[in-house]
Amino acid sequence: MKSKNLNIFTNGIIKENPVLRLMLGTCPTLAVTTAAINGIGMGVAATIVLVCSNLVISLLRNFIPDKVRIPAFITVIAGFVSVVQMLVKAFTPTLDEALGVFLPLIVVNCIILARAEMFASKNSVLPSVLDGLGMGIGFTATLTLMGMIRELLGAGTLFGITVTAEVIDPMIIFLLPPGGFFVFGILVAVSNAIAKRQGKPVVEHLGCANCPARAGCQNAVLEGDASPACEKNEKVGDGNE
């Protein structure tokens, strides 16, 4: 039992890293990682929401009618996001400024809704909290890594401390939107290469398997004109069911 819980906890950090393996939460990943410290801030804020919402949804899982579960989950998540938003505004105003509109947008961060739908609504409290914590740490670690890469290349600093800025001219493009897409593309390529070496499936599309709206997407696939993203990636995220 203990090792099972440990597995659930470590699952989100590497094996099912929400950003690089499940391809969730791409928007904040690209938007806030202009500095390593912002990556940590965003990661921690999302982790708090993730753990709290997983806890509450797991407690309520037998009371929420199946038909209205998504709106119910969103309401719970939005409640915790508002709490975190107020805390960040009160205690770390600089972070509030850096994250801007992406702080309230944690509500629609697919990671949180996906974990509520795929894990917390089916499991008891302790595993759900551990899953939220593991996924949150995986999210934070990836965001921080990406923030460090972009900050080092784009500003020559790490966590605000000058590293290479005086030796090499920083390439500001890495702080601008194209740099975000580029660094993320390379990170996914590296993570795919590692996965391939270990004989795991390579991530080719967005993580629709974990997307709460995938029912609609699958209809689109049946209609035959949308990307096959939804069917292809179905296997990747289903390890813990």
């Binding site: 391809m23 998504i70 969103i74 194209p178 580029f182 290469a193 390579v202 689109a220 949308a226 993203a229």
Partner: protein, 195 residues
């Protein structure tokens, strides 16, 4: 600044310089997921634009006339996301009942839009920037058109990508992201337009 110039400035910013997808990073999921074909990308962006404008038209008065006077601003996020979810459902029902052809074309994309951060994003940005009702609508429309422009341009790029000789380790999602980086790079050229 007179109101016409500010409308033009908002339109230019929303479509080009502050493009929803390529510079604000909102709606990345549909941008990468539903951009394989130009016509799908077009339908999806029409649906997003429609929801953005209607959502702004509903959330802005709610904030101004209900949340603000009652000092309930802290409920903004909760109320907005629920209103957006309800609106998406309503639009779906209304289209299904009365405008069947449009429903057939857009219906499958509507459920995807509730959790699309671009919609909640634009309604929140309108409030944060303190825009009045009219300018908020213009801003939402501009963001929608910007989304459409990015989607269609990117769908065009991706159709070329299918036949391109891509290095093995970049195949799949990585090269798509790098292509997005190049499209975003081209949008940097607009920086400075419209102040």
């Amino acid at each position: 600044m007179s109101s016409t110039t500010s409308i033009v400035a908002i339109l230019l910013a929303g479509i080009l310089t502050e493009n929803m997808v390529l510079s604000r990073f909102m709606g990345i999921c549909p941008f990468l997921g539903v951009s394989k074909k130009v016509n799908t990308a077009f339908s999806m962006s029409i649906a997003v634009t429609l929801v953005m404008v209607i959502a702004t038209a509903v959330t802005h008065p709610i904030y101004t006339y209900f949340l603000l006077p009652n000092e309930l601003e802290y409920l903004q996020t909760v109320v907005f996301i629920l209103v957006i979810a309800a609106i998406v459902q309503l639009i779906e029902i209304v289209l299904k009942k009365y405008i069947k052809p449009i429903y057939n074309a857009l219906g499958i994309y509507l459920p995807l839009i509730t959790t699309n951060c671009a919609v909640l994003g634009i309604t929140t940005i309108n409030i944060d920037d303190g825009l009045n009702f009219g300018l908020s609508l213009v801003n939402a429309l501009a963001a929608g058109i910007g989304f459409m422009l990015a989607m269609i341009l990117f769908a065009g790029v991706r159709s070329k990508l299918d036949t391109a000789d891509v290095p093995e380790f970049l195949k799949g999602l990585p090269i798509t992201l790098i292509a997005a980086a190049i499209v975003a790079l081209s949008f940097l050229g607009f920086a400075g337009i419209g102040g």
